[in-house]
């Protein structure tokens, strides 16, 4: 044998590092052009370690850098390259597409990680709808240079994020004609990733069934982008120092997508949670909340901005209450800060409080998604979900976080329907009525079966396996509901599954009964009263019904069985999110939107049936409420034109 070299000493196996360090722009490249913000704009993100192939392509994401408008592609970055591993990836550079690939990967992974941490389980992308059913999609695709347009969007049908680039106008700090890359804005990347994550959890939230549907998608995506700012240590300390701890004043942390906003000719950031720049005076001024604000607008971004402002306001109240003691300590009990710079230690402590508060609020906002109805969600539902989710995580509200949330929402006119008061207890979702509890208990099988339902969603499990197990569980729940006991209880979970159900609900060819779908079966963690971690089972069931703008027509289709009913004007969806205690088998919450609710049907009809908004798009290309665009977010994210 030619192999003559002696055996080498084998070192003990190395542990995989927990993180991969990757350098990014904290906000976007425009902050690098000013001396006071340049220093805080470089940061290193710690992304959970995973093996990557060039792209980067990992477990959750695949970056594919084709640029069809330029007729070219860019070489995929190899983050396993030893030079790059040794220096936290590539240097931030606008002129190097490989850095762009690195940055979208790092920011999107950070956003994913925030979701997984908050939900305590792995996240799944929404499945691809194909002719033969739903297909598992392992990786969200990211196209960093997909188009030449001041736009970026999540494509629900391609399961991809598309980022545009465009020449800047002459406003603001941008070089006129210089290229602005939306994929280099932390806020834009986090925003789009959040759309994808939300779609993965609630596929039906994309459908505009009420005035809040798209606004919630938009507002929630902004909330995530905004609160991630508080995990940028250098920027946070800098802004605390500059605002002397008062985060309610104009500051970078409350602004979204500054370069983008300026580049399209706006004088400030694209959106600002705290205030706005006056178009005439170019002066920043804080926004005063008014309860009439919400009713005054139907435009998704404007409504979304109100949601963001409400959550940010709650954050500020909590932050202020958390630093009150620090300020007293630092000022010998007066609470009045002296002139001049704050002590660096105080800046550090304030920053830590701000960061912890922001993490908590973000956590709360994400966890609330498990407490939302599966269809037709409104801001009021989201408020109730927030309060309930927080009660499940922190049973004792001794710091008044929940009060802060409710107060901030109330000040902007966000109220849920059908609650008697705005006390936090009243706002929490309730369980089923006593009489129904026993019925529902009959519906759910023995504890052992129930325990088998939630698959292992822990962070080490395989995501495709999770999806498969969830489908198995969903089939089991579907079967229970079809049983004799189950059918009669359909109404309790917002469904109509008896043979007498309205005929606008399609019947299954297998059993002749109304079709319905078990959308999701997943675990959710919560804190028990003694601090122990408990698991709930979240079951989402949904059903769809043909909706007609003409009520008389609706009635006919509802009551007369027809072989081929006339094409619907819209889909009317109903269903329920059930949270079941895995220990006691008790249904803790039953968050439903009844499929047979005449009031809700009428509300959706009014929402869809009114005259179009008269926008240019609606005038020439059709009313987007009735002709669902193939790319709902592409249209939503294009700058809106002014209408009379």
């Amino acid at each position: 044998m030619p192999d003559a070299s002696p055996p080498r000493i084998q070192p003990p196996p190395k542990r995989r590092p927990p993180f991969r360090n990757l350098r990014v722009y904290a906000f976007d490249p425009s902050l690098n052009w000013q001396i006071d913000t340049a220093v805080i704009n470089q940061m290193t993100l710690q992304v959970p370690w995973e093996d990557l192939t060039p792209g980067p392509v990992g477990e959750y994401l695949e970056v594919v850098d084709v640029d069809p408008a330029s007729g070219c592609c860019y070489a995929p970055v190899d983050l396993e390259d030893r030079f790059l591993l040794a220096q936290g990836g590539l240097d931030p550079a606008e002129g190097d597409p490989q850095f762009h690939q690195q940055m979208v990967y790092a920011v999107a992974m950070t956003t994913i990680r925030n979701f997984e941490r908050a939900l305590g389980r792995r996240v799944l992308w929404s499945q691809a709808e194909e002719a033969q059913g739903y297909q598992f999609v392992r990786r969200l695709r990211i196209y960093p240079h997909a188009m030449r347009e001041a736009n970026a969007y999540y494509s629900p049908c391609k399961k991809a994020l598309l980022f545009g680039y465009f020449p800047a106008t002459a406003e603001g700090r941008n070089l006129p004609g210089g290229t602005v890359f939306t994929c280099l804005s932390h806020d834009v990347v986090a925003h789009e990733t959040t759309h994808a994550l939300l779609d993965g959890l609630h596929r039906r939230f994309v459908e505009p069934t009420n005035v809040d549907s798209l606004a919630l998608h938009e507002g929630f995506a902004d909330i995530v982008a905004l609160f991630q700012h508080f995990s940028f240590p250098a920027a946070l300390r800098d802004q605390i120092r500059k605002t002397r701890g008062d985060l309610a004043g104009q500051n970078l942390l409350g602004q979204l997508a500054q370069q983008f906003g300026e580049a399209i000719g706006q004088y400030g950031a694209l959106r600002d949670a705290l205030g706005e720049v006056d178009k005439v005076t170019k002066q920043w001024r804080p926004k005063e909340p008014k309860p009439a604000d919400l009713a005054a607008t139907r435009e998704p971004h404007a409504r979304g901005a109100i949601l963001v402002a409400a959550v940010f306001d709650a954050f500020l109240s909590i932050y202020k209450s958390r630093i009150a003691d620090l300020l007293r300590i630092a000022t010998s009990g007066t609470g009045v800060l002296p002139q001049g710079d704050l002590h660096p230690d105080l800046v550090d402590r304030l920053a830590r409080e701000a960061s912890a508060t922001a993490a908590h609020v973000l956590n709360m906002c994400i966890r609330a998604l498990d407490y939302c109805p599966p269809v037709d969600v409104g801001f009021g539902d989201y408020l109730r979900a927030l309060v309930t989710a927080d009660r499940d995580l922190v049973p004792d509200d001794d710091r008044g976080y929940r009060i802060a949330i409710v107060e901030a929402f109330r000040r902007r006119g966000i109220y849920p329907q059908g609650v008697r008061s705005l006390s936090t207890d009243n706002l929490c979702w309730s369980g089923p009525l006593d009489a129904d509890v026993n019925e529902l208990r009959k519906l759910l099988p023995g504890v052992e079966d129930l325990r088998r339902l939630p698959p292992d969603w822990s962070v080490s499990s395989d995501r495709q396996k999770i999806q498969q197990n969830m489908e198995t569980s969903a089939r089991a729940v579907h079967d229970w509901l079809l049983s004799d006991n189950g059918r009669s209880m359909g109404r309790l979970v917002g469904l109509a599954i008896e043979p007498t159900a309205p005929f606008s609900i399609e019947r299954s060819p297998k059993n002749g009964l109304p079709k319905f779908e078990v959308h999701s079966v997943r675990p959710a963690r919560r804190q028990g009263p003694d601090g122990q971690t408990l698991s709930d089972l979240v079951i989402e069931v949904t059903q769809k019904r043909r909706g007609y703008l003409d009520a008389g027509f609706q009635q006919r289709v509802d009551t007369e069985p027809m072989d081929s009913p006339p094409p619907e004007d819209f889909w009317f969806r109903g269903g329920c999110t059930l949270l079941v205690d895995l220990e006691s088998r008790e249904v803790r919450y039953c968050i439903g939107k009844g499929i047979e609710s005449p009031a809700r049907l009428e509300a959706q009809r009014t929402f869809l049936g009114g005259p179009a908004d008269g926008s240019l798009h609606a005038t020439y290309f059709g009313d987007p409420r009735r002709q669902a665009p193939a790319e709902p977010f592409a249209m939503l994210h294009r700058p809106v034109e002014e209408t009379p």
Partner: protein
């Protein structure tokens, strides 16, 4: 060639008669003003066109032109061409031979048509380039399989008429060139001007728009300091998209070749240096791009990758840019207010003016005869408006509400809508319901404001609303004349009075 179809149009003794032709979705208004005793009326023609794609459009427009010739006795005293849209100008190309038989006194157009105005030239050049690029984008969408998107876009681009071999809107240019050529020389009006109607006493004309201010002209896309940078050939926001669309169409042999300056812009528009750019042909051979994006031609995996590809998604913004272009062109509309001095009544012909055009009017004022301290303002003119030619076939975006329709408070208000709802609602591109014209909330508000006196080109005589008494309605009906070819209304005036005192605003 065409037999006379109409007798000469008369003018009232005092006042004006307004005729709206019923050729389809397009504007054509003939106004007859009484001239001095014993003389023929003064005829003013405002636009003459019908939408591209109208059935037998040329025949229809020839019939209209012949009617114009006969109604005016072969002489139009003032020919007004409001803006470069096919549904306003097509007749000057389709029925050119008939217009050749008509004597034209003066030609009135907006300053935006002036070949000696640098801003106007730049606006037009930008518009022509945009039309050319957007047609290329429509071709790209079609090649990519998005027939609906291509059709939507082309329907909107139909406002610019047929294209020439170079991809520029040649037919509309010919139409406008014809109009300008009849002008010897044409008058280019600016906001604030007060042109005189030749031979007519007791009528004042006020030019309201288009504004000189470019931010108002392109109201939804404000740019400032644009000029400096355009000289340096920097990219305007849409330019990088436009050159890409043109380059892609050229590469697919579906569009015109790039002009030299477009080649320059194309080079500027690449986001990265050449060293980073990997041509698609090279990438197709690369294992990463084969596995993730292109696949290998003919192999089974290729199809599985197709659903996530984004080859033509970037063209998706073309639709919005097309709408933008359409609006920008509408904003160059010559907007006129015509005041009958005796009664103070006002006729508002704002063509298709959009938000920016309307808003700019409020900065204008004119000295009022005998009352230097009380100038004529647009609020004042709107308050006295008795005839409103509804903008842009009563779409939502061409009639301002608070600073427009709501200021028209005269109880005699009549609205004229040159619209053909059936044509507007015909499926266009991927939109089965066609265009939303007339916009129902606007129509409803017009009905309320004008108490049912809404004259539509497609419907002719309006029905009497339940809320209006028979005597009042008959009074209105008496002023109208409806034939299959046109709808007329006479704005008569009481016998001339010495002077009507103006209310102070």
């Amino acid at each position: 060639m065409t037999d006379p179809v109409t007798a000469p149009m008369t003018a009232p003794a005092v006042g004006v008669k307004v005729r709206m032709y019923r050729q389809g979705l397009g504007d054509c208004f003939l106004l007859a003003f009484p001239s001095r005793p014993g003389q023929r009326p003064c005829y003013v023609l405002i636009d003459c066109g019908v939408l591209l794609g109208t059935e037998d459009a040329a025949t229809k427009m020839k019939k209209v032109a012949a009617s114009l010739r006969d109604a005016t006795g072969g002489r139009i005293d003032v020919l007004v061409a409001t803006h470069q849209h096919w549904d306003h100008l097509s007749g000057f190309q389709q029925a050119k031979e008939i217009f050749d038989q008509i004597e034209i006194g003066q030609v009135w157009v907006a300053w935006t048509e002036d070949p000696n105005d640098a801003t106007a030239n730049r606006l037009r050049a930008r518009r022509e380039g945009a039309v050319r690029a957007l047609h290329a984008a429509a071709q790209g969408l079609r090649l990519g399989g998005d027939e609906d998107g291509a059709g939507n876009l082309e329907a909107v681009l139909g406002f610019f008429g047929e294209l020439g071999a170079d991809g520029r809107p040649s037919a509309i240019q010919q139409a406008m060139a014809y109009v300008l050529g009849r002008g010897n020389p044409p008058r280019y009006w600016h906001p604030g001007d007060r042109p005189e109607l030749p031979g007519v006493d007791g009528v004042r004309v006020y030019v309201l728009g288009p504004p000189r201010d470019e931010t108002l002209l392109r109201r939804s896309n404000p740019t400032s300091a644009g000029e400096v940078y355009e000289q340096r050939m920097a990219l305007a926001p849409e330019t990088s998209f436009f050159v890409a669309a043109l380059a892609a169409a050229e590469a697919a042999k579906a569009g015109p070749a790039l002009a030299p300056e477009e080649e320059e812009l194309k080079k500027l528009s690449f986001p990265f240096d050449k060293t980073f750019r990997v041509p698609v042909e090279t990438a197709r051979q690369d294992s990463f791009y084969q596995e993730s994006y292109f696949g290998v031609a003919g192999q089974p995996g290729e199809k599985d990758l197709a659903w996530r590809r984004i080859d033509t998604d970037w063209l998706g913004s073309a639709g919005q840019l097309g709408l933008q272009l359409d609006s920008d062109t509408n904003n160059t509309s010559l907007a006129l207010a015509i005041e009958l001095v005796g009664s103070g009544k006002v006729l508002l012909f704002a063509a298709d003016a959009q938000v920016g055009n309307w808003l700019s009017w409020f900065d204008l004022q004119w000295p009022r005869e005998g009352e230097p301290g009380n100038p004529v303002t647009v609020s004042d003119l709107l308050r006295r408006t008795v005839l409103y030619k509804v903008g842009h076939h009563a779409s939502h975006n061409a009639t301002l509400q608070a600073r427009g329709l709501e200021l028209m408070t005269d109880p005699e208000l009549v609205a004229m809508i040159p619209v053909d709802e059936a044509m507007a609602h015909k499926p266009k591109g991927g939109n089965p319901k066609g265009w939303d014209m007339p916009f129902s909330p606007l129509l409803q508000r017009l009905q309320e404001k004008a108490k049912g006196r809404v004259l539509r080109a497609d419907l002719g005589a309006p029905p009497q609303p339940a809320s209006v008494g028979a005597a009042e309605w008959q009074g209105f009906e008496k002023k109208c004349a409806v034939t299959p070819d046109y709808v007329e209304i006479t704005i008569a005036e009481p016998a001339p009075r010495v002077r009507r005192p103006h209310r102070k605003t």
